[in-house]
Amino acid sequence: MKANYTRPLDLKHGRVDMNHGAGGRATAQLVSELFARAFDNPWLAQGDDGAVLPAPEPGERLVMATDGHVVSPLFFPGGDIGSLAVHGTVNDLAVMGARPLYLSASFILEEGYPLADLKRIVDAMAEASRSVGVPVVTGDTKVVEQGKGDGVFIATTGVGALPPGRAPGGASARPGDVVLVSGSMGDHGMAILAVREALAFDSEIRSDSAPLACLVETLYAAVPADAIRVLRDPTRGGLATTLNEIARQSGAGMLIDEAAIPVHPQVEAACELLGLDPLYLANEGKLIVVCAPEHAEAALAAMRAHPRGRDAARIGTVIADDHHFVQLRTALGGMRMLDWLSGEPLPRIC
């Protein structure tokens, strides 16, 4: 340490202060002792304003996605904002059919936030990025005054490569196509809600925050690329809103079977208690697949063989409908709409 006359960051007891975002020595120290050390890759280690990256393979196209993360609380059962910031953007690339390659990360920190907690977040983020093989190659840090942030905000941007032949898109669903989901709905939304509102349930509800790139690759290995019409991760607004987005983009309607939609019993029970619908709660590790009917069984089998798709299910079909309604056959046998989420999901009064 004497060589550069600096005292190491106190990552146990220190706090973020305005100097950490001023662009001077303190910023450089935070970047090198926390971010660069955790993410540890040659691009970031260069410390330049950007990262010089190799071009994709011939015939591949680049895909870029970006995501801002403002989750509260920052730590929740099954994850934290750091791993979520990686999964969110990696999944946005994956559902475009792309192989995620690189990430950038921009941190907006609130003055006074404990460095120990920041380290936990950054370490979790680094671990998530390593486990999916997508390094954080460039980043930025800003500090806002106390009271002007919520601890930590993270924005991540990702770049991926789209192999030839793949072109999943919301506009590609056609009448007759089959709608699949990779697992239970609403886990992330309910996990966050339970912690935020200090709701005590007998069993802990965990977020499903997870990367989907591997599951998507498994799917492409199992069925022809053009059989996969749409891939989506049903995040905010949940399954219901995502299906409506696809229906509108495709100019089609959907007919969904409520009884076929997987929902964890704990999530169902918590929703029951609060008067919420699990189909409108966010997911952070689930996939919606709209697939050509002749390949639907193969796609479903491939998903079920993958650890992230064990509970995959066939939940409905795309139908012709100029109004782009998503209709739900209820478990009772009646019909209703599964409409867009309007506003925030709010609990019933009585």
Partner: protein, 380 residues
């Protein structure tokens, strides 16, 4: 889910649907009002209509606490937050109800200096009390709304606030009473006089007040009432019971929800409510106008925790949007799609009236779950 799935079984539902079809006289029409928004929600949410014969019509009633809250009452809360720097705590659905000047509690929230005032969603009255205890520098007002179901918890926090001598907590009381609303429906002078054959009676309300308070509907107005739970099979079973009463020419109060409701209700809760509240002379309901002795006010002994007394604020009536049909819809005289604003000017994103706001409101239920029925959809 134990104790829930049993009441959502598709096969049982089909069986009940067939029984209703079999017993309903094809030569006549049946119109039953489901008083509670919870029933409206269940009917729409589970597509119960599809299981009923065409000659059995369900009419939405005024039993949604958010829907019957008039604009002026929301204005009072907004005024307290904006002018008196208080923190308003209330149930989720309340936040989106349209108020004056294009505001709602949610929109007003964006204008507040959060260090002084705020508007927060709570899950219970106790949460509001806990906030006042946790942040003694904050002036907390609980905007209490609801029928007899939510009244005992409000009474309890008022008692607790008194026992604790809490200086920074009060309640803006808007608790209303179901029997008064039923009378208003049956006797409304302006309406075209919706022809009803009976009522699906309140579920949770009756767990508190029991089934006995509805006896007058059967004896004085000769209309059958079946108290029903909020599960879809409860609703269907109660419809079958109502059809039978009509066919037999009977009018009685029957109880389908025996697992939770008794004739006398919860005496302890009733005593608590009586200790803390008394009848208001008059209270304005959205859609029903001013109804005598239809709501509760906080007794003088608890005046220190009564926001109306504490801040010296009074109620000023505010007219609804002229074209908004919330009133006639709440009285069962019109259906949501009959309103000119429905689905065009008035949507869940831009609600003009309260019926489009609450998840239990008739318009929101039809918009979110049933508007596909207004249009023929071409299936693949």
């Amino acid at each position: 889910m134990k104790y829930v799935d049993e009441f959502r079984d598709g096969e049982l539902a089909r069986g009940l649907g067939e029984a209703i079809r079999r017993e309903a006289d094809p030569g006549r029409h049946y119109a039953f009002m489901e008083f509670c928004g919870g029933h409206t929600h269940a009917i729409s949410r589970y597509g119960v209509i599809d299981l009923l014969p065409k000659n059995v019509r369900m009419v939405h009633g005024p039993g949604c606490p958010v829907c019957v809250l008039p604009v002026g009452r929301i204005d009072m809360a907004i005024k307290l937050a904006m002018e008196r720097a208080v923190t308003i705590c209330t149930y989720g659905d309340c936040l989106r109800v349209p108020a004056s000047d294009g505001l709602s509690l949610l929109k007003a929230r964006a204008h507040l200096d959060k260090s002084r005032a705020d508007i927060r969603m709570v899950y219970s009255a106790a949460d509001a009390l806990a906030l006042a205890q946790r942040e003694p520098q904050r002036e907390v007002v609980f905007l209490a709304i609801g029928f007899e179901t939510t009244t005992p918890p409000t009474a309890l926090v008022l008692k607790q606030a008194q026992a604790l001598g809490l200086k920074n907590f009060s309640v803006l009381c808007n608790h209303v009473l179901t029997p008064a609303a039923i009378v208003a429906i049956l006797e409304h002078p302006e309406g075209s006089g919706v022809q009803l054959d009976g009522f699906v009676g309140p579920a949770h309300v009756s767990t508190v007040i029991g089934s006995r308070p509805y006896d007058f509907v059967a004896t004085q107005y000769n209309k059958p009432v079946v108290i029903a739970g909020f599960e879809p099979l409860d609703v269907m079973q109660s419809i079958l019971m109502l059809v039978r009463q009509v066919n037999d020419g009977r009018a009685a109060v029957e109880n389908e929800f025996t697992r939770a409701v008794t004739p006398d209700g919860n005496r302890k809760a009733q005593a608590l409510v009586a200790e803390v509240f008394e009848l208001r002379d008059s209270y304005e309901w959205r859609g029903l106008g001013s109804l005598p002795q239809s709501a509760l006010k906080i007794r003088a002994e608890f005046a220190a925790w009564d926001a109306e007394a504490r801040f010296g604020i009074g109620y000023t009536p505010v007219a609804d949007h002229k074209a908004c049909e919330c009133g006639t819809i709440l009285r069962g005289e019109k259906r949501p799609a009959d309103c000119k604003l429905f689905g065009t000017v008035c949507t869940p994103e831009t609600p003009m009236g309260s019926c489009m706001v609450s998840s239990e409101g008739a318009c929101a239920a039809h918009y979110n779950y049933g508007r596909f029925r207004d249009i023929a959809v071409v299936a693949a």
